[in-house]
Each structure stands twice: as structure tokens, then as C-alpha cells.
Amino acid sequence: MWSRIAYAFRETWASFRRNLTLTAAAVVTSAISLLLVGATFLIQRGFDNLLVRWKGDVQMIVFVASDAAPEQIAYIEEVIKSQPAVIDLNNLKYLDKAASFEEAKVIFTGDPTLLSLLTPETIPTQFKVVPLTGDAALVRSLAEQYRGLPKVEGVSLAEDEFQVISTLSGFVRTVTIVMSVVLLGVAVALIWNTIRTAMFARRREIEVMKLVGATNWFIRIPFMLEGLLQGLIGGVASCGGLWALNRAWTSGVAGFKPGTGISALVVPGSYVNGVMLMLLVIGALAGAIGSGIAASRFLDV
């Protein structure tokens, strides 16, 4: 067993050194593509933070003052429900103080000043309204009506806040996903190519190995290890890049005036760590699987 492991690592290392240029190209490409994958996730998460209160076709939010009595809340609900033809009653949701506070924590991650002013006691509660009608004027007139109710602090319309961001988010998502998929493909192609070159350099050895009865797995594993290592090194580099990028972004956002909403674009550190772990796994898997397939393909030559 030990001799097999030692053998695999010795061969991997020798091959790495032999194909330094190709290896470097594969590592750099996989680093860049993985960085892009990571950035896609962070950007998306930022947009999700912005959009979290509008999830599920919510078009209107009625904010209720935190000191409203239960009967007053019930009255508001009654008014909203009085128009079942216009409002989807099945999807009408009420977020109490605790739920509203949880949501605010997501939205204001990057704005600790504002967040510290909020407490579960003082936060307004919310009705999330999903209209059945597509008639914007009608929805707007409803909003006007709700604004006049006692203890309603305000009514926000998706139209005003959400549409631009939503469109932007969709566009950015498409662009970054397409780019990262393309680059990841290039990275796998480069790893594939280094493995092919490595196998060509060792074709005499492979021929002898097959003749004396080495299994295909035995022959393949050093090459898979090589691909895995390339992907993993690419992954580590991309993590470094992502970390730096996120740091620059977070401190840049901190420079904005509080309360502009931009602060929602800050992503919590735990999420960044999760994404970095994912990049390492993707890098290692893509490298190992890509080179494993390449090795199988060229094992017959």
C-alpha cells in the first residue's frame, strides 16, 4: 500500500515539473474561472439581500407601526382582505416583529449603524401583498388607500424599488454565469491537454505497465492526482482573489452614506467562507474528473 502511494506522489511531482508551462497555464485559467464563479455567487447573494423582502411575487409591503394593538393589526388585515378579486389572499403574509427583525438583519448586513438602531421591539411589522391584477394604477390606488389607515407607517411598492435592481440582477447573473462556464470549460480543456502531454511523455512506461499487468486505475491515479492538484492550486489562488475582492468591496461600500440601501450588497463573512470552500471542491473535482477522463481516453494509445 505504502509503496503504491509513494509511487503515485513521486510520479505526480515529476510530471508537474516536466510540464511546468502547461501546468502553469492550466492553474492560472482554473484560478480565473473559479474566481469568476465565486464572484457570481457573491454578487448574486448581494442582490438577493436587496431583494429579499420582495421574494415570491410580493408587489406591495404595508408597514405597521410597532406599537399597533392586535385589534388595529386585525383591522388592517381585514381591509386588505376585503378585496379578494384584486389581492391573492392565499399568499398574503404577515411578518411579526421577530420575522421582520430577521429580515432586516439580512438587508442591513453592511450597515451596522442602522442595524444597531433596530430592535425586535421597535421594528415595524409587515403585510406582504401579492396582487392578482397586473394593473399598476389599481395597485397604486390601493396603496394610497392603505396609507390612510391608522397605524400604517408606510406602503412600499415593488415597482418603485425593485424593478431596476431585479433587471440588473438578472443581467449580471447571466453574464457572469456564461463567462464562468466558458472559462471553466477552458480550464478543463487545458488540464486535459497537460494530462495528454504528460501521458505522451510517459507512453513507454505506460506500455510497459500495461504489459506487466498494472491495472488501469493504477496507471490513471498519478494523472488524476496531477489534475486534482492543478485544480486545487487554481482553487486556492481563486480563494485568495475572492477574499481580496470582497474586502475591497466591503470597505468601498462602507464609504457610502448609511441608509442608501447599497449596504445590503455586503455579503456576510460566513457566506464568503462557504463560497471559498465550494471553489476548492469544484477546482479539485473538475481537475480530477477531467484528467481521469483524459487518462482513460489516452490509455489505449
Binding site: M209, V212, G213, I219
Partner: protein
């Protein structure tokens, strides 16, 4: 030990390398495959260790039809067979010792087995004082001895030799033949392809002769005609 039943091998669509060949080689036999260049000798050897598969017919090794063997079992078939070639197929960046050890290493033999078996087989082929030489520091005959040592180190039941004396002068070739003969005497079945008349006539072993892929003669204690 080795049996071919009506074996036909076609390369491409119409290049018939071996046509309807049948023979049976017993355990411990020594057999020459003879015939002019291109008559199908190498193809027959490659059919015996599943480097090729026949279009028709069956190849039996030690009682098993190897054409029905799954790809993942083929390495284990080959561990019971040694291969020797005209061009030695040694790894030029490895020493004599390492070349032989390689064959055990890649089938997962532990180091203490390697340390014990490699010197023993190198002594058997008469290279006990050349462990640390590289192949290009050896004569042709010595290189072929290394390749025989590599083929034999795992004590295979069968040795397949494809023109092992083809690159050697007559005296050196004779030495290699004595080595193969002594391996055969230890119980290993040897099949050797050659078109070297002198060697076939000297050894007086069973001769299977091919002509354009067809078996034309199978004779005990034969000579090269």
C-alpha cells in the same frame, strides 16, 4: 496451457493477418512461431495476451477463454505472462535494478518482495554486478537479459518472446536462447516468434510455421525449412 480454436484476425476491413489458425500448446512446452516477415507471428502473440481480440475463434489460456474476459480482468491475465521484444522496451531513465523492480512495483508488490526477488532474477540472467547501470551503458545482449529478467521476475506461467534475438549477433543470440531454454526447463511455457533459421535448427523444438496468416506446418522437434 495455450489453445487457439479457428482464430482469425483482420486489421481494418480486409487485411487478414491470421486466418483460421488452431493449435494447442501444453504446459512447459517450448514452441517456435516461424515464417517470413508479415506472416502473422506478432499478431498471434498479441492475441495471446489480449493486446488484440480475434474477429473469429477463441483463445484459451490456462483453461479460460480470454476473449470473454472483462477489460478489468486483463491485467491479472498478464501478470501470469512475461513479454520479451526485439527492441527490449526498457525505460532509459531507470537503472537495471529499477527497470526490473518497476514490473513488481506497478502490480503493487511490497518493497521487501522487490528487494528479494529483483537481485535473484538478475543473478539468474547473469547481471548481478550491473544493478546500477542504465540501459544505454549495456550491450544489446545485456539489455535483452534485463528485459527477460523483467518478464520473468514475477515467475509467470508463460513467456511470449517476439524475435528476442532479432537485433543481436549470432553468439549473443545463442546466449539469450540458452537463457530462455533454462527458463523453459524451470516449467515456464515459452512461445517465441522468430525468422532466424540458425536458432530454430539449433534448438530442435516444436515449430509452428505461418505463411500469410495461414498455419502451414506444426511439427515436433522441427527445423526451419
Amino acid at each position: 496451457m495455450i489453445r487457439l480454436d479457428n482464430v482469425t484476425k483482420v486489421y481494418g476491413t480486409d487485411s487478414v493477418a491470421v486466418r483460421d489458425v488452431s493449435f494447442d500448446i501444453g504446459k512447459g512446452d517450448f514452441v517456435f512461431l516461424v515464417g517470413p516477415s508479415g506472416s502473422g507471428k506478432s499478431t498471434l502473440l498479441r492475441l495471446m495476451n489480449r493486446q488484440e481480440r480475434p474477429e473469429r475463434g477463441d483463445v484459451w489460456i490456462a483453461g479460460r477463454n480470454i476473449n470473454e474476459l472483462s477489460d478489468s480482468r486483463v491485467p491479472f491475465l498478464r501478470r501470469g505472462m512475461g513479454n520479451v521484444f526485439q527492441d527490449y522496451k526498457l525505460l532509459s531513465n531507470k537503472t537495471v535494478f529499477e527497470n526490473v523492480a518497476f514490473a513488481l512495483e506497478v502490480i503493487g508488490k511490497p518493497r521487501h518482495v522487490i528487494r528479494q526477488q529483483v537481485p535473484a532474477v538478475l543473478e539468474l540472467v547473469g547481471l548481478e554486478d550491473k544493478h546500477d547501470r542504465l540501459p544505454d551503458q549495456l550491450s544489446g545482449g545485456e539489455q535483452q537479459r534485463v528485459s527477460i529478467a523483467r518478464a520473468f521476475v514475477n515467475r509467470p506461467l508463460i513467456m511470449l518472446a517476439d524475435e528476442p534475438t532479432g537485433n543481436l549477433d549470432p553468439a549473443t543470440g545463442e546466449g539469450i536462447m540458452q537463457l530462455l531454454d533454462s527458463i523453459n526447463r524451470s516449467g515456464t511455457t515459452v512461445v517465441m516468434a522468430t525468422h532466424d533459421h540458425r536458432i530454430v535448427n539449433m534448438m530442435r523444438k516444436r515449430v509452428i510455421q505461418l505463411d500469410r496468416g495461414v498455419l502451414v506446418r506444426d511439427q515436433e522437434r522441427g527445423v526451419y525449412e
